[in-house]
Subunit: 151 residues, 2 copies
């Protein structure tokens, strides 16, 4: 935890941004909920628990800043809200998601499955890939079992 905060602090400093108390509180919330996919509002409410004086605008600004520095990725699962997802330690690219259409759960795939696909895209379409967003929609393991049971 502390190490990762320290690292993020350095990333901010390298672009001459400061890790203010508000920003640190926000980053801590993101770290403590790394498995989740929090909306700005979610983050705001969680940060408020430890630092009640923080404003919603500051949370939005912080998340925007962290996005620009590629510390978090902004993602949208189709409900009207943006969600903010910490990059995995040392990850070059954004990780992938499995969204269950039955229960709404979101699972993560950290492994980069797209190496081959991306070289094809570069070669055959002449498009220089910098990053990607890949989400699978389907039925999670748990819901598959449920379906079998109830049939």
């Amino acid at each position: 935890m502390e190490q990762r905060i320290e690292k993020i602090k350095k990333q901010l400093h390298s672009q001459s941004y400061k890790l203010t108390p508000q920003r640190e509180a926000t980053v801590r919330v993101l770290l403590e909920h790394e498995e989740d996919h929090l909306s700005a509002e979610d983050v705001y409410l969680l940060v408020k628990e430890k630092a009640p004086e923080i404003g919603l605008a500051t949370v939005y600004r912080t998340l925007e800043l962290l996005s620009e520095l590629k510390i978090v990725d902004k993602i949208n699962f189709g409900d009207g809200v943006s969600r903010y997802d910490l990059r995995k330690e040392g990850a070059e690219h954004f990780h992938h998601h499995l969204v269950c259409v039955e229960c709404g759960s979101v699972e993560e795939i950290v492994e980069d499955l797209l190496t081959d696909v991306e070289s094809r895209v570069e070669k055959d379409w002449g498009f220089q890939v910098k990053d990607h967003r890949l989400t699978f929609h389907g039925v999670c393991k748990k819901c598959q079992v449920e379906t079998v049971k109830s049939s």
Copy 2:
């Protein structure tokens, strides 16, 4: 054109929906702008040109309906708007997109590059894939040339 409208009409009827004049006008706009990625507002303005009496809410409802029937796919490129994209004729899955971070252009990949990846996901993660969303962010062919020129 007429064939595809006829087909969509049947898809609607099969779920006991009607192809009202407003819905037809909306579908026509989508067909005429198949290469584009129109927002609800975009569609509304274009439909209004031929059927000025249509209301924005109707366009939203129609797009929602077409989404449910998998006639169009709703996609979000990270600006705050949903965009609506007709499924390619006979396509099983949603096609992919190449978004240029320089010029904002959006190119399409109709070929399904994910067959292997999806079978891995099914096998190794036990997730039953129904559909996907894949977008690459990077530099398009044209902007790569620009960069070379100006350097």
